[in-house]
């Protein structure tokens, strides 16, 4: 059994990656998506992974999220060596330690916001009452307490992404992984979503976010730039923008889908 508690190593490392490679074989060709990545992420960090498309950042994200396995290298998440785990053990890691936010929201259609948020809890032993309580709590955090019974098609894009964030939060994971979370959103909604991420980070959540927009990355604390399957640069952001401040200067748009 893997607990959701954060077991930070002696030096506070939540993620330790050493010389990670991923090679895809398509026919006779070998595609080197990742060529020896090494990096550490400490608890409480807010990291933006940037890079052009094809730079390997999505592949890296999939491995980070235990959706895919590396070809070579070591990946230790929260003290657990992930490389040696089987399918079901990886599923359990995803369930207990990782919260996912996708570009396309990936909510279940024709299913209420509440049930969507409850989904990760369906796959662990927890009472129905506790499940509902936790899901409502998570929806409250993202500011959707009044939309619990709405279906995704009755919610705006920003609201859908907030449901997805609530779903990522509900299991109290060690890390939240967001793959282009603002890719399908307009600029004001994007900032609203970043505001939620900043709030969660302030409360101690570790967040790794993939984006190709520098504007979005400017809300994070650390920037890692990928190019051709390698890390090109890894630097702290000295000029962090505060989303709740930025939003005041953006023109208001009527919320759609009401």
């Amino acid at each position: 059994m893997i607990s959701g508690d954060v077991n930070v190593g002696k030096d506070g490392k939540l993620i330790e990656i050493e010389n990670l490679s991923k090679i895809y074989k398509t026919g006779d060709f070998e595609v080197h998506a990742l060529r020896g990545i090494s990096l550490n992420v400490k608890k409480g960090e807010f990291v933006a992974i940037m890079g052009a498309s094809g730079s390997g950042k999505s592949t890296f994200m999939n491995i980070l999220g235990c959706l895919d396995k590396p070809t070579k290298g070591r990946y230790i998440l929260d003290g657990i060596e992930v490389g040696g785990l089987n399918r079901d053990q990886l599923a359990e890691i995803r369930n207990k330690k990782i919260g996912f936010v996708f570009q396309g929201f990936n909510l279940l259609s024709r299913t209420s916001a509440l049930e969507n948020v409850e989904l990760p809890l369906f796959y662990c032993s927890i009472s129905q009452k506790e499940r509902k309580e936790k899901a409502l709590e998570a929806l409250k955090i993202v500011g959707l307490a009044d939309r619990v019974n709405h279906h995704p098609n009755q919610l705006s894009g920003g609201q859908q992404q907030r449901v997805a964030i609530a779903r990522a939060l509900v299991n109290n994971p060690s890390i939240i992984l967001a793959d282009e979370p603002t890719g399908n959103l307009d600029s004001r909604t994007s900032v609203e979503v970043m505001e939620i991420f900043q709030k969660l980070n302030e409360e101690g959540k570790t967040i790794v976010l993939v984006t190709h927009e520098p504007d979005i990355a400017s809300f994070t604390k650390r920037h890692i730039l990928f190019r051709d399957g390698k890390i090109k640069s890894d630097s702290l952001n000295n000029d962090i923008k505060i989303a709740s401040e930025v939003i005041k200067y953006l023109p208001k748009i009527d919320e759609e889908g009401e």
Partner: protein, 405 residues
């Protein structure tokens, strides 16, 4: 708890596609309904055959003379002249498993009463014939042992004969002429109805077998001996005792075959029920074909559903669903389809068989066995045809499933 969640998810998925779920179930509904109706008809037929056979009387053994053989030419059963009145008397005296014995002879002919006449069969029987056949006298009385010994010219009429010769007047005490021999009518038998072959059992005249042998058929041997065993369990014992007694009396050596045949009620019954059982199996197996077609329908829809919901499967996997969870979810969906279909199919079958028996006038019988069978069969179909699509879903790669458009 976790299982309950998966069950809930399966129900929700089916609820979301109500029309499709219903149409898929329809295959199972029709299949199960058809199996139940066919079994009901078959078992109804079986029941009525058994009913008719038991209406012949119970514990009955019939002894026929064997077939005659001259050189290589063999005549049919009953052509041998081996059974005598003395054989019948010996059976009654020496076989403890035998309760009643009624020697039988037969004659046919025109029967005249006043200005009416009627062609019918005259059965020569013993005084205990009615006890063996469980038959009753409606009015008047049956002839006695005394009448049999004396070969009195007395008789008892079947209901059909009484109606045709006397209409509404009372035949008791009247005289009828059978082949110009006058017989006094002692009584009228109660109605017995048709036998399993559709013959009118009431179209008969019963007379002492001695009278029939001496006055009508002028033939010294018996056509048959009707015997009843003390109880149904004693039938094999009675058969054994009669066989050894008759072999001894007829001086048949150990390597020779019997010159008589004994048929018992159980043989006749098992023959007839075997026939109707074959009918039941035939009907049910034709109906099961539609059940299997229904199962293939489930598999088809589940495969479509898995493809259509690849993204959903990806989402579920990304939040921590294991292969087993996905497998269970889709398997349960298939099973809910087939079980629900099975349940509605049973209702449909029960109503359908009532309608069939109402319109066609056939007896139908729904046993708990046929309900359990079709219910079990539909569960099996759900598992069997649901497994492949469910496994396909469970084996999906999470990333591929998430990227699926």
């Amino acid at each position: 708890m976790k299982f309950l969640n998966i069950l809930l998810a399966a129900f929700r998925a089916l609820h979301r596609n109500k029309m499709r779920s219903f149409l898929t179930m329809l295959g199972i509904i029709i299949g199960v309904g058809a199996v139940i109706i066919m079994l009901a008809i078959g078992q109804g037929a079986e029941y009525s055959v058994k009913e008719q056979i038991s209406s012949l009387g119970q514990n009955i053994l019939i002894i026929f003379p064997g077939s005659q053989q001259q050189g290589t030419t063999r005549s049919g059963a009953g052509t041998m002249t081996t059974l005598t009145e003395e054989d019948a008397a010996a059976i009654a005296k020496e076989c403890p498993a035998v309760a009643y014995v009624s020697p039988g002879s037969r004659a046919g002919g025109q029967v005249i009463a006043g200005n009416m006449n009627w062609q019918t069969g005259i059965e020569g029987v013993g005084a205990s014939y009615l006890e063996i056949r469980k038959w009753k006298i409606e009015y008047g009385e049956f002839f006695s042992e005394q009448d049999v010994k004396a070969a009195s010219k007395v008789c008892v009429l079947g209901k059909t004969v009484a109606k045709n010769l006397f209409q509404d007047s009372d035949p008791v005490g009247q005289t009828i002429r059978i082949r110009n021999v006058p017989f006094k009518v002692l009584g009228v038998l109660s109605e017995k109805g048709q036998n399993s072959m559709g013959q009118d059992q009431d179209d008969v005249i019963l007379a002492p077998y001695t009278t029939v042998l001496r006055r009508l058929s002028h033939f010294p041997y018996l056509r048959s001996i009707l015997v009843s065993a003390v109880s149904p369990n004693d039938i094999p014992k009675a058969q054994e005792q009669i066989t050894s007694l008759l072999r001894q009396r007829h001086k048949i050596s150990a390597w020779e075959q019997d010159d008589f045949t004994i048929r018992n009620q159980a043989d006749i019954a098992s023959m007839a029920t075997a026939t109707s059982e074959i009918l039941t199996i035939l009907l049910a197996s034709i109906a099961s074909v539609s059940l299997i077609v229904g199962g293939i329908g489930i598999m088809n829809i589940m495969l479509v559903s898995v493809t259509e919901r690849t993204r959903e499967i990806g989402i579920r996997m990304s939040v921590g669903a294991k292969s087993r969870d996905i497998l269970t979810q889709f398997l349960i969906e298939a099973m809910v389809l087939s079980l629900l279909g099975g349940f509605i199919g049973i209702l449909f079958g029960v109503i359908g068989s009532k309608v069939v028996s109402g319109f066609a006038g056939w007896p139908t019988f729904i046993t708990s066995f046929s309900i359990l069978l079709s219910f079990g069969f539909s569960i099996l179909i759900g598992v069997f045809f649901g497994f492949y699509p469910a496994r396909k879903a469970a084996m999906l790669n999470p990333i591929d499933a998430l990227r699926y458009e």
